[in-house]
């Protein structure tokens, strides 16, 4: 999953980005609103973290610009102002959640995971599809309650496919959600990851969780479950 963080305070941005990368996300870092908007337009983001107190274009305007661009991904607002009026107005302007500075890093991570999951239509932190269960908090994957060890890249590919379960995900999309730069656009790498995933999740070959659509990409075929509606 690819995240964008727009925060002018470099040390804070760096530590947030590091923590998010450790959690398995691809992170774009922007120091001001203009740069942030460029990243948002250039790369397919899954979520943006926007500081409201930005130099240049104010954070609130960045959110409005993004929404006017037709951007649908969730936006998490960071704000130093704890005023409810600002929170209500910010959420009304198109943000989806807010965190008041100074926040706990784990709190930020939990909010990011929840927003991503909800945006993908999953309402529970454990994504369950057939016998496959992916816990977004602990990053644990189980198949029929048996723990499966995945590498960081494999996990990212699985999370991406599972989040968009039922939809076709192109190789390019997967690449961009896994790598920060587009220097390595060798689609064979994706094929290798998907192949390894299939083996780990479905060693007997009875489930067939990932379908290959020639020239178009991949699709998670198992039905979503565990969604209390």
């Amino acid at each position: 999953m690819r995240l964008l963080i727009i925060e002018d305070e470099t040390p804070l941005r760096a530590s947030v980005a590091t923590r998010l990368r450790d959690a398995g996300y691809v992170v774009d870092e922007a120091g001001d609103g203009e740069e942030g908007l460029w990243f948002a337009r250039e790369y397919p983001q899954d979520l943006a973290i926007v500081d409201l107190g930005l130099p240049g274009i104010p954070g609130m305007d960045v959110i409005r610009n993004l929404r006017e661009d037709g951007v649908a991904f969730p936006i998490l607002v960071l704000t130093a102002r704890g005023r409810w009026e600002d929170k209500v107005d910010g959420l009304g302007a198109g943000a989806d959640d807010y965190l008041v500075k100074p926040f706990h890093m784990e709190e930020l991570l939990a909010r990011v995971q929840a927003l991503l999951r909800r945006a993908a239509g999953w309402s529970h932190p454990v994504l369950v599809s057939g016998p496959v269960a992916l816990d977004t908090r602990s990053q644990e994957v189980r198949v029929e309650n048996r723990k499966v060890d995945l590498t960081s890249f494999e996990f990212r590919v699985l999370e991406c496919l599972l989040m968009k379960a039922g939809d076709v995900v192109s190789k390019a999309e997967l690449t961009e959600h896994i790598y920060e730069q587009d220097f390595d656009r060798d689609s064979n790498v994706i094929e290798v990851f998907v192949g390894r995933l299939r083996k780990k999740l479905d060693p007997e070959g009875t489930l067939g969780p990932v379908e290959t659509l020639r020239g178009r990409g991949y699709r998670w075929t198992l039905p979503r479950a565990g969604q209390p509606d």
Binding site: E85, V88, P102, H104, L115, S123
Partner: protein, 450 residues
């Protein structure tokens, strides 16, 4: 001195009117009496002359009258018109038939040529009397002196005076009423711009006007212009104040965020550092929220649509607590408005509703109505407040409260309510959970707190 300008003016000018009309009445009365006195004197003199014309002196100095007396009333006893002629020794030598029994004790003769006019107490209104001394040359060459005395009842005069006074009185009353009426009209005409200024200020307080208009009379314009300036200053001061606080918040909290993220970057932060950071964070958060609240009052305040703000807050909370299916019931009096600062009301609603959302099992109810200002009640079906909810509302406990609990939010709401002269009450909701009721009084009655 209490009262209104109009009353002051009315009282002062009415007093002036009474004094003026009183003096004018006294002067007129005096002039009337003077002139009627003169008229009486002339009348009596003409009667004296009439009598003299008819009188004849006998050789023995007795007096007799030729023909009829000039006035019929001289014949009727007690008619109020009397005449006598006295000789030099004061003895009555002739008296009109009307005199019958009338004898003023001091009917002394006067010197020839002298006219003495006086008044005698008599029945009812008294008498006016004229004595006129004459010398009568007889054929014998003797020069006896006589005094002709004519007295006439003043009843007619008194009646005339009474009539005059009544008439004057009537006219003065009419004049007085007319003058007061004119004065009232004048007053309302003069005070109309003041009244308009008051109306416009009220309209500003109700949020229907931004500023006072510029077409006031020049005497008032100095005042209304100053009020406009003050309102503009107040608004920009509030904006500047908020911006300063925002900057302060940003410059305090971002380093705190850096500190916290750096601390937790290498696993679990050491508690001797994490503790103080949390504490600083709490204090900064609380004090900033407090300082930002209650920015402005009075003329610079706005009219806030309670329904709209509550709906926006609910929508925001639905987003924030996206995983929690809460059914929120808003029961707000239609058209309900809050006169004051939008930020204050947003803070009250936001904190109370956020707490309710956090604790609720599935149901939140927000009700607001007009009751002594604005009454907001937020309820949930959660576990309710701790056994001693007042401790949460107590000022002394605020530093021990952790964010995320009921703590800082309730403390901020309590302080805002107190600043606006209102109150907060915690209890148990029929839904099963907590029920927080905040009462914000109408602004004009409360005024800003120090």
């Amino acid at each position: 001195m209490p009262g209104t300008l109009a009353r002051r003016l009315l009282v002062a000018s009415s007093l002036l009117l009474v004094v003026f009309l009183g003096l004018a009445g006294a002067a007129l009365d005096h002039a009337f009496r003077q002139s009627s006195d003169r008229a009486t004197r002339d009348l009596l003199m003409s009667r004296v002359l009439g009598l003299l014309a008819a009188a004849e002196v006998q050789p023995d100095s007795a007096i007799s009258m030729r023909g009829d007396l000039p006035e019929e009333r001289f014949y009727r006893p007690g008619s109020g018109l009397y005449a006598r002629i006295l000789d030099g020794a004061g003895q009555t030598v002739w008296a009109s038939p009307s005199v019958a029994g009338w004898a003023p004790d001091d009917s002394l003769p006067v010197k020839p040529g002298e006219r003495r006019y006086d008044r005698l107490p008599g029945n009812e209104s008294g008498l006016a009397r004229l004595r006129f001394g004459i010398e009568w040359e007889l054929e014998s060459g003797a020069l006896p002196t006589y005094t002709v005395e004519v007295a006439e009842s003043l009843a007619a005069y008194a009646a005339e005076l009474g009539r005059f006074r009544r008439e004057i009185g009537t006219w003065f009353v009419i004049l007085g009423i007319a003058l007061v009426a004119v004065q009232l009209w004048l007053l309302s005409y003069l005070l109309k711009p003041l009244g308009r200024a008051v109306d416009e200020i009220a309209a500003m307080e109700d949020g229907q006007r931004e500023r006072l208009s510029d077409d006031f009379p020049s005497e008032l314009r100095a005042l209304t212009g100053r009020i406009n300036d003050l309102v503009v200053q107040e608004r920009s001061r509030t904006t500047r104040y908020r911006e300063t606080l925002d900057n302060l918040a940003h410059s305090l909290k971002t380093p705190l965020a850096v500190l916290r993220s750096t601390l937790s970057a290498k696993g679990e932060p050491p508690p001797e550092l994490a503790g103080p950071v949390d504490r600083i964070d709490d204090i900064v958060a609380y004090q900033l929220a407090r300082a930002t609240a209650s920015g402005h009052h009075g003329l610079a305040s706005e009219t806030v649509d309670v329904t709209e703000l509550a709906e926006a807050t609910a929508a925001a909370l639905v987003k924030v607590h996206g995983d929690k299916p809460i059914s929120c019931e808003l029961s707000i009096e239609p058209g309900l408005a809050f006169r004051g600062d939008r930020g204050d009301l947003a803070e009250v609603l936001g904190n109370l509703m956020d707490n309710a959302w956090k604790w609720a099992a599935g149901q939140v109810r927000v009700s607001a109505r007009r009751h002594n200002g604005l009454s907001v009640v937020v309820e949930d079906d959660g576990p309710g407040l701790p056994p001693n909810p007042d401790a949460l509302l107590d000022r002394g406990t605020r530093r021990d409260l952790r964010p995320g609990g009921q703590g800082i939010g309730l403390a901020v709401v309590r302080d805002i309510a107190a600043d606006l002269g209102g109150s907060i009450e915690a209890g148990v909701s029929p839904l099963g959970g907590a029920r927080i009721c905040v009462q914000l009084p109408p602004e004009r009655a409360s005024g800003p707190a120090g």
